[in-house]
Symmetry: C2
Subunit: 322 residues, 2 copies
């Protein structure tokens, strides 16, 4: 069996991305065996490695194949200017982080990589670089409209019915057909990987899950029918449960994942339980994408103080789900 090929994009050169990638890959005992291909600027990588005092051998990766031997490869996307702006956004930073991400996603889309792990980019840098996508998620959405945002931690797992849209629009997605499609796609994605998830707990939308229609009708007219239709197809899904207790039902139950009706219904819960230790995994695409649950952290960039644990968790999950 060939080991998974995992692309890792370095993220914004001005943030902590390059540092946490280096620290993670320098700790092989914390990582499963795989073929790791880092995408970024080679000069930046070498400078960061020297500054951290790490000795890490990388083989050059080029072209459309990944060698079958496990190990560490580097795909040099070039593109960096002479001086990196550390601790802040810039057009060059945006261009560099986008090109690395774009290249990894392209190879994954063509089946050459099994998964892509993305170190954090800066939305400001992307905007300064003239990019029309606000971030990783919007770029993946544009390529794969059925992409599903999920969040994973030891204590809680959450999938979001919708993500970066206004709440009023998110409410408009709470429709039987949309929900049924979502349950199917999520179930198919989870069944195709070693997720450990055996049951989807669906949150309601309204207080007390609508309390038999007294506090809102979507549970009765949309969510419940979608759950029933999905259950008939053999999808292990139950609910709708009151939003304020459904997360407690899934807490410390690794076989359960909550389906949240909106970005913040899910992330208010997730971030309280697993702030900066969780992993964001994008499903519903031909490959897996994971990322750590933190940003560029410009304030501590270049100081050697960044904690690689969330990125290590993201890499481990990428391998596990592949």
């Amino acid at each position: 069996m060939t080991l998974p090929a995992i692309g890792i994009s370095l993220g914004d050169p001005g943030g902590i991305g390059p540092e946490v990638v280096l620290k993670a890959l320098a700790a092989p005992s914390l990582l499963p065996e795989a073929r790791f291909i880092v995408f970024g600027d080679r000069r930046l990588w070498d400078a960061e490695r020297a500054s951290l005092g790490l000795h890490l051998e990388v083989q050059v990766h080029k072209g459309d194949t990944v060698p079958s031997a496990p190990g560490l490869y580097f795909n040099d996307i070039g593109a960096m200017p002479g001086d990196v702006v550390r601790g802040g956004a810039s057009a060059e930073n945006g261009k560099s982080s986008f090109l690395a991400f774009e290249k990894a996603v392209e190879l994954a889309g063509r089946g050459i990589l099994d998964a892509v792990v993305t170190a954090p980019v800066s939305k400001t840098s992307w905007r300064l670089a003239g990019l029309s996508w606000r971030g990783h998620t919007e770029y993946l959405d544009s390529l794969y409209p059925g992409a599903i945002m999920t969040f994973w931690s030891e204590r809680l797992k959450v999938a979001l019915l919708s993500h970066h849209i206004p709440l009023t629009e998110a409410l408009g997605r709470v429709r039987k057909g949309v929900l049924l499609d979502f349950f199917r796609a999520l179930h198919r994605s989870l069944a195709g990987v070693r997720s450990g998830v055996e049951e989807l707990l669906v949150a309601g939308l309204n207080p007390h899950a609508g309390e038999d229609g007294l506090l809102g009708g979507e549970e009765t007219t949309e969510i419940q029918p979608a759950i029933e239709a999905a259950a008939k197809e053999g999808i292990p899904v139950s609910g709708p449960f009151p939003p304020d207790t459904v997360f407690l039902k899934a807490l410390d139950r690794p076989e359960k994942m909550v389906v949240a009706m909106s970005h913040d219904q899910g992330l208010v819960a997730f971030k309280l339980v697993a702030f900066e230790t969780g992993v964001n995994a994008t499903l519903g695409m031909p490959f897996i994408r994971t990322s750590p649950d933190h940003g560029t952290a410009y304030d501590i960039a270049g100081k050697g103080a960044a904690d690689p644990r969330s990125l290590i968790a993201a890499i481990r999950m990428a391998v596990e789900l592949s």
Copy 2:
């Protein structure tokens, strides 16, 4: 100085209310000194006390005054049938719990009590009794339309802009004028009691608090202007903050309270942090009302196994806020 007069309603006779009230009052070392007046059926009280093997002296309370001496009083609202249905709802249970609550609220509204602590009632029992209010909150809403639901625990404090209405209606309340009135009323309520709250952190409505309008406009058009207007009046209020991190900003910071834009934005967070150990306090009325963060728990009623800690916390908070 006269000690506060605290009314305590026994709640649904079939649930754990009478048991936790008895257990709480039988542990005076855990309670501040006050004048406690229990409202309920005396025969039920005596039977429950005997069954629990507790020896608790209560003085009879009648009429429109509360004696100035600290101690334990009982206001017999009668109304119980011969047999109490334990572990389930009934019209008689609903009638009894409503009459006890109604009487305590009436005396508090007239200034005779400083606060009311409510043991849990059953919505089903209230409906069976033909009552038109779904529960305590709706009854208080009908008397005091400006009533504010707040939730208190050691780790987190939350106030809800709206509570038992459909989410689409709740979104309609996110308007500058409504918000400004809410900030004023909440600030006034908190300033009038020993709350310890020094700053209100206001949650946004949309993902990432709208991200400068890209993900929703309410932050820019409604919430921010209301915050600015309130701040000009000297109200210590800030935000709007992204919903998925605002609760982390207030966690373990006892001087901060989060203002949530909807029932579940606030309660998803609160229940994860303080499930069944928190206290629900209704502000914005001429008196304070507190209640434990659990229900009738019919499944364990009558077994002597109910935990009185949340009710004790509710009683302590009622005294502190009075």
